[in-house]
């Protein structure tokens, strides 16, 4: 067995789960040797035969995907249309709304026309990129986890609601929540670059501690993105269930618990910001700003969780 075969087998096994490796390796090796031998017996040169056999087996990644039962595509036909519908709804509702709001806010705050257009445009673009990315990621994960349960059967009730029919309220609610969540994500990501205060050299002084970018901001943004997914799933199911209420509990906890912890340990606000407005150093954990924020976060989370279970019980 030559180095070429070793490399081929190695490349195939690389992405195969540990416990299947030994068995697949032994079988694949003997299959290759068998095939090479058959060619040599019919008069081929051993080295050339090996090349032909390995070439015939093709891309090792594809072979490995076959062994591991992994799909060779990101989103398959079972989920593609649900994916496309969701993405379309998100893009044609959220992007225009957010773009208009950003544009108006900028215009009101007295920016010139050019910077209003430029800023609105860049926010819209990054919003589109975010929404496409997260939606695709979630569907790709579903595609890879959903081996046994077939995709939801399409039913007549999935027809898009006509705008004049009652029952569109729920759709509106979902969209409103999604827009709010997108705003929250945008607010977090823009909080570093947009601030009423700026340093002497013109760089903005963010209200939140810049250190949060190392982990907590991306974490909170991910949780909010998950909540968007949750809203959409809830809308597709059409009513609150115990499962949804439990997931709602988990998501709220994921957000509220670290948020309160960070507030208590005084890691949320930027001391420079409060120094600048004359409050002295970072607001203390017993300061009124921190306490009010804490109560608001915990209160909203608690109410949302209880509301979910209450609706699920009906």
């Amino acid at each position: 067995m030559s180095e070429l075969t070793d490399r081929y087998v190695g490349a195939t096994l690389r992405s195969i789960p540990e416990k299947q490796r030994a068995d697949i390796e032994a079988e694949l090796r003997v299959s290759i040797v068998d095939a090479v031998e058959a060619r040599v017996e019919s008069g081929e040169d051993a080295e050339a035969a090996e090349r032909v056999v390995l070439t015939g087996l093709g891309d090792p990644d594809r072979l490995a995907a076959g062994y591991a039962g992994r799909p060779g595509y990101l989103i398959g036909p079972d989920h593609f249309f649900a994916y496309k519908r969701l993405l379309t709804v998100l893009l044609i509702t959220v992007v225009p709304i957010v773009a208009v709001v950003i544009g108006v806010v900028q215009a009101v705050s007295g920016d010139d026309f050019g910077s209003v257009v430029g800023h609105t445009f860049s926010v819209a673009i990054s919003l589109i990129v975010h929404m496409v990315f997260w939606t695709t990621l979630v569907f790709a994960i579903v595609e890879r986890s959903d081996h046994k349960t077939p995709a939801n059967e399409w039913a007549l009730s999935d027809l898009p609601p006509s705008l004049t029919v009652a029952g569109t309220v729920k759709f509106g609610e979902t969209i409103a929540t999604v827009v709010f969540l997108v705003f929250a994500i945008a607010a977090i990501s823009l909080s570093q670059t947009i601030s009423p205060l700026s340093a002497d050299d013109g760089t903005p002084i963010p209200i939140f501690d810049p250190e949060l970018w190392s982990f907590w901001f991306p974490f909170f943004m991910s949780v909010l993105a998950l909540e968007i997914v949750f809203e959409v799933v809830k809308f597709r199911i059409g009513r609150w269930t115990w499962g949804l209420a439990s997931v709602n509990l988990a998501l709220n906890a994921l957000f509220a618990v670290p948020a309160v912890y960070l507030l208590v340990t005084e890691q949320v606000f930027n001391p420079v910001f409060f120094d600048e407005i004359g409050w002295g150093a970072e607001p203390a954990s017993n300061g009124s700003l921190v306490v009010v924020t804490m109560i608001a976060i915990a209160g909203i989370a608690l109410w949302d969780v209880i509301d979910g279970f209450r609706k699920a019980r009906k």
Binding site: D23, I24, A26, E27, L28, V30, S31, V33, D34, A35, A38, G56, L57, G58, R62, L63, G66, Y67, G69
Partner: protein
């Protein structure tokens, strides 16, 4: 308008899909190992690539349609597969559907409805 070779190949591939599985179940009523099966299918005129067949054998085994056993007696150890009772049953079912389909198509070709 005519169809080209690539189109023909694509249609044939579509048509053959599914027959490989049935062929495997039928051939492996006598136990066989990977490359040996590949050769047998090739001789019988069933076109299948090694990189399709080998993963498929494992998949069928996982579904309980094949059983497997390592034979370490020969010059090199080989994994032998054999169609299980369940596999034989499925093969019978698929075979009868296949024949039904053949009859239906023949009927359509003759112009019966």
């Amino acid at each position: 308008m005519t169809y080209d070779d690539a189109q023909l190949e694509a249609h044939l591939k579509e048509l053959r899909r599914g027959s490989v599985l049935l062929a495997c179940l039928l051939v492996l009523r006598t136990p066989g190992y990977g490359y040996g099966l590949l050769e047998k299918l090739d001789e019988a005129g069933v076109e299948v690539d090694a990189n399709t067949l080998y993963p498929m054998l494992r998949r069928l085994e996982k579904q309980g349609l094949l059983t497997s056993e390592w034979d370490t007696d020969g010059a090199r150890p080989r994994k032998y597969y054999a169609t299980s009772d369940l596999g034989v049953e499925l093969a019978r079912e698929l075979m009868s559907s296949w024949l039904d389909m053949t009859r239906t198509l023949e009927g359509l070709e003759r112009g019966e409805s």
